[in-house]
């Protein structure tokens, strides 16, 4: 009885599920400078959609596709598309699926770093592809971030508290099956050998497992940022990129409907109080990198809008270690990453850099 009354008061008290809180970055998420200090592989404007073809990496920069060797990495343009590239996935047979900001998923053949046309037809039924992954049986998992906003409007989708996302499985024959719906911006997918997939649901800050029959269960909950790309980890588990941090300020704004609507109506999206991929470059933005500085170090719980964070998840998908670029760093907005031969290649979209993190013999950060 008292519990029920208490829950009725929760919206007024800011308690229970109405609490304006964010989880701490501690334990395995203890801040460090790994990502900020990682050696540069190559500089590229807004790199994203990172994939690997042998020793050659492919990365998107806006509407263009670049290839570069991991050891000597001057990027060379290998393709251009009609719209910005949002996501990409390369199959073992060399089929490159590319999700574009106009909603299409198109295909190319990749052979020794060269791009050629593919016999596969474009998929036109999507409006906001955000992540792609090939299953072992040749099917393609497609994350549809939102039905109402394109990928370039992700900030609006978050501010609107959108949950119209879905995950699809496109069989080799081309028929598409919706596995799960009502998702809050699925933004990364990892296909598992048993036919299921791990999906990062950005706006709910969690990872879910979607089985082949569409059943979903939560794998990791209450992450301190917005999860995006997932990649297979050779030591078991997965690598996860979180493209921006959660903050109490923005959690508060998300709960204030009229404030959100007025902000969206009257203010330029670049100036919204919302997560960002890039560190601030304007003195007009006082909050980024503000708050506490202790021991000469900017504390990670400063209300920063952008951040760089990569998590190593163990076989149970629990965070095991992390690499950070903190509020005062530059390598923010990591959306895609891939492991290759004892190192983790990370594309920092906000830092215009592709960097390499060395791994130790156990598959953790060296």
């Amino acid at each position: 009885m008292i519990g029920a009354l208490s829950r009725l008061l929760d919206p007024l008290r800011g308690a229970g599920r109405h609490a304006i809180t964010v989880p701490p970055m501690d334990g395995a998420l203890q801040p460090n400078e790994r990502l900020e200090e990682a050696p540069l592989v190559c500089s590229l404007a807004s790199p994203d959609a990172l994939t690997l073809s042998g020793p050659t990496a492919l990365a998107a920069s806006n509407s263009k596709l670049f290839a570069f060797e991991l050891d000597a990495g001057a990027p060379r343009e290998v393709g251009a598309f009609a719209a910005d590239i949002v996501c990409a996935a390369l199959s073992q047979k060399g089929e490159l699926a590319v999700g574009l900001s106009d909603g299409r998923v198109t295909f190319r053949r990749v052979d020794a770093g060269a791009i050629a046309p593919s016999p596969l037809s474009d998929l036109a039924q999507f409006s906001c592809p955000t992540a792609l992954a090939w299953a072992d049986d040749g099917a393609l998992f497609v994350c549809e971030g939102s039905q109402t906003n394109p990928a370039s409007e992700w900030k609006r989708d978050l501010t609107e508290r959108g949950s119209s996302g879905s995950v699809w499985r496109v069989n080799p024959g081309g028929e598409a099956q919706r596995l799960a719906g009502d998702l809050a911006y699925p933004n990364g997918v990892l296909a598992l050998p048993d036919g299921s997939a791990i999906v990062s649901e950005s706006w709910r800050s969690r990872l879910i497992r979607i089985s082949a029959d569409g059943a979903t269960d939560v794998v990791v909950d209450d992450l301190p940022g917005y999860p995006a790309g997932l990649a297979r980890r050779s030591a078991g588990g997965a690598w996860l990129a979180l493209f921006a941090p959660r903050s109490q300020l923005f959690e508060f704004i998300l709960r204030e409907r009229s404030l959100r609507e007025q902000m969206m109506r009257e203010i330029d999206p670049d100036c919204w109080m919302a997560p960002a991929l890039r560190p601030a470059r304007s003195f007009l933005e006082p909050l980024q990198g503000g708050a506490l500085k202790q021991l000469g170090v900017m504390k990670p719980w400063a209300p920063s809008r952008s951040y760089g964070l990569v998590l190593a998840l163990d076989a149970q998908m629990r965070p095991e270690a992390s690499a950070h670029s903190r509020a005062n760093g530059l390598r923010h907005g990591v959306r895609s990453l891939v492991e290759s031969d004892g190192r983790l290649i990370v594309a920092s979209k906000g830092g215009d850099a592709v960097v390499s993190l060395a791994l130790d013999a156990r598959g953790g950060f060296a």
């Binding site: 008290r13 989880p23 334990g27 506490l292 021991l295």
Partner: protein
């Protein structure tokens, strides 16, 4: 220094019911020296000093003050002769203010309160003790009560002051002030008897050290003749240092699943938007000075006190947001809190061990059936007293009859009987002797090895450094720093706690 000791005791024997608490002990205290008296609980330290201060009388033996035989019948008589004692047990009047306690016994027929409070404030400030003279003693925490006790003894201008575990509840910073104070007293010619379980303190402050074991004199020598290992060997008759601070055999334990996530928790001015996580299979040490909000945070988690009514933050147990109104709800969710003040909150001291453990067992709803069977309770109590090696004549023994270390083990047994998955230990070895510390540390380590989530709140840095798999530092109501044990040092932790 004069050649004649200010206090000289020869062949002191004190029998309780035919058992010798002190057995033929010689002890002398020189003018202007700091003399540490060490030993395990039950070694006879407190009894010997109580005889010195008139709180007990010797069965046999002779005591001389300034070379003249004396036998004090009461503490007041000892004080009149310049011998004062700061007792381990609290001897303040809880319903009176700090200032009234300081001047207790010195009142005039008509008192003006304002000068009394001003004098009390000036005196406390001169000792660097941050205690409000207007506060009633019952509203003070353990540490501040201890400060008032110390201040009262110093104010009475005693020539000999006996401190029985004065630093047990002080923070490192307050200990620093306290040591400055007793060094100042020493310069003024006051002789100090210093009883402590913290051996580092005795080694730091003493001119001479006397060690008692089982009521007998084990060693007495200048400070230079002792090191930590020798003291321990004299105290317990064997080397304990490896057991005392046993590092995890394979370094820091790996975190398992996240058990608890404290997010932006707030309570008045004590807990301010603090956030941290606790993992299963790990000991998370929390260090901080008094007033840093460690205990208050722990008590909110355990449902003992409440967070702010409005926007007080969130505690997540697993993936569930929880807010406990009473401790029983937390206990039933597997969260238990082992109090820092065992005498006040840890047990019912006139009840037996079995009754105490049984109460917690029943409170957790673990008893089978609607009717509580005495046999079941006794069985549970026996199992835990055996597992934790509680040394008592029987499970029927009353808690008050046990030593500090065994009392603490009963408090831990009470918590473990509730089958917790998260245990918060708040100063678990405060006022506990050296061999019991080793046993309690082993218990804590074993619980973490079994996969329980452990929170260890301690003001004792070696304890934090050697037991913790992660170290969090609390300052001004929030967690300000996290250290891995391999990179943490006392200096780094203290810096984070103060700055």
């Amino acid at each position: 220094m004069s050649e004649t000791p200010i206090i000289e005791m020869r062949g002191i024997v004190k029998l309780y019911g035919g058992v010798a608490a002190v057995d033929d002990v010689d002890f002398d205290l020189r003018r202007g020296e700091i003399h540490s008296l060490l030993g395990e609980n039950g070694a006879g330290k407190s009894t010997l000093t109580k005889i010195m201060a008139g709180a007990a009388t010797a069965t046999r033996g002779e005591m001389r003050l300034d070379g003249k035989p004396v036998a004090f019948a009461t503490p007041a008589e000892a004080m009149a002769n310049g011998v004062g004692m700061v007792f381990q047990e609290n001897s303040l009047v809880p319903s009176m203010t700090v200032a009234q306690n300081l001047f207790l016994g010195d009142e005039r027929f008509f008192n003006r309160l304002r000068p009394l409070y001003i004098a009390a404030q000036q005196f406390l400030q001169s000792l660097n003790f941050n205690v409000d003279p207007w506060a009633t003693v019952s509203s003070l925490g353990v540490a501040k009560k201890q400060m008032v006790e110390i201040a009262r003894a110093v104010r009475q201008n005693a020539r000999v002051i006996i401190f029985d575990e004065p630093t047990a509840s002080l923070t490192p910073e307050e200990k620093h002030h306290f040591f400055s104070l007793i060094r100042r007293l020493k310069v003024d010619g006051v002789s100090i008897v210093f009883i402590s379980h913290a051996l580092e303190e005795a080694l730091e402050i003493s001119d001479r050290i006397t060690v008692l074991r089982d009521g007998k004199l084990a060693a007495s020598d200048d400070r230079a003749a002792f090191d930590r290992d020798r003291i321990i060997t004299c105290m317990v008759g064997r080397t304990l240092s490896k057991d005392l601070y046993r590092k995890g055999e394979h370094g820091a334990r790996k975190a398992r699943e996240k058990v608890l996530s404290v997010q932006n928790l707030s309570q008045g001015k004590m807990v301010r938007n603090t956030s941290f996580s606790i993992y299963a299979g790990q000991i998370t040490g929390i260090f901080g000075l008094i007033g840093s909000g460690r205990t208050e945070t722990a008590r909110i988690i355990a449902g003992i006190t409440k967070r702010n009514f409005l926007h007080g933050g969130e505690t997540r147990l697993g993936s569930r947001s929880v807010r406990y109104r009473v401790p029983r709800e937390a206990v039933r969710d597997g969260i238990v809190y082992v109090t820092e003040d065992r005498k006040l909150e840890g047990f019912f001291d006139t009840m037996s061990i079995a009754e105490n453990i049984g109460l917690n067992y029943i409170a957790a709803g673990l008893n089978s059936g609607l009717v509580v069977r005495t046999g079941e309770i006794v069985e549970v109590a026996k199992r835990w007293t055996r597992q934790l090696n509680v040394r008592a004549i029987s499970a029927d023994a009353k808690i008050v009859e046990l030593s500090g270390g065994n009392q603490q083990k009963v408090v831990i047994a009470k918590s473990l009987a509730q089958k917790p998955k998260l245990i918060i230990f708040d100063e678990p070895t405060r006022g506990v002797d050296v061999s019991a510390i080793a046993e309690i540390h082993q218990i804590i380590q074993a619980l973490a090895d079994e996969g329980l989530a452990i929170v260890l709140i301690s003001s004792y840095l070696p304890e934090i450094l050697n037991l913790s798999d992660r170290i969090l530092v609390s300052q001004k109501g929030r967690i300000v720093e996290e250290f891995r044990p391999e990179t943490a040092t006392e200096e780094k932790i203290m810096y984070a706690a103060v700055h």
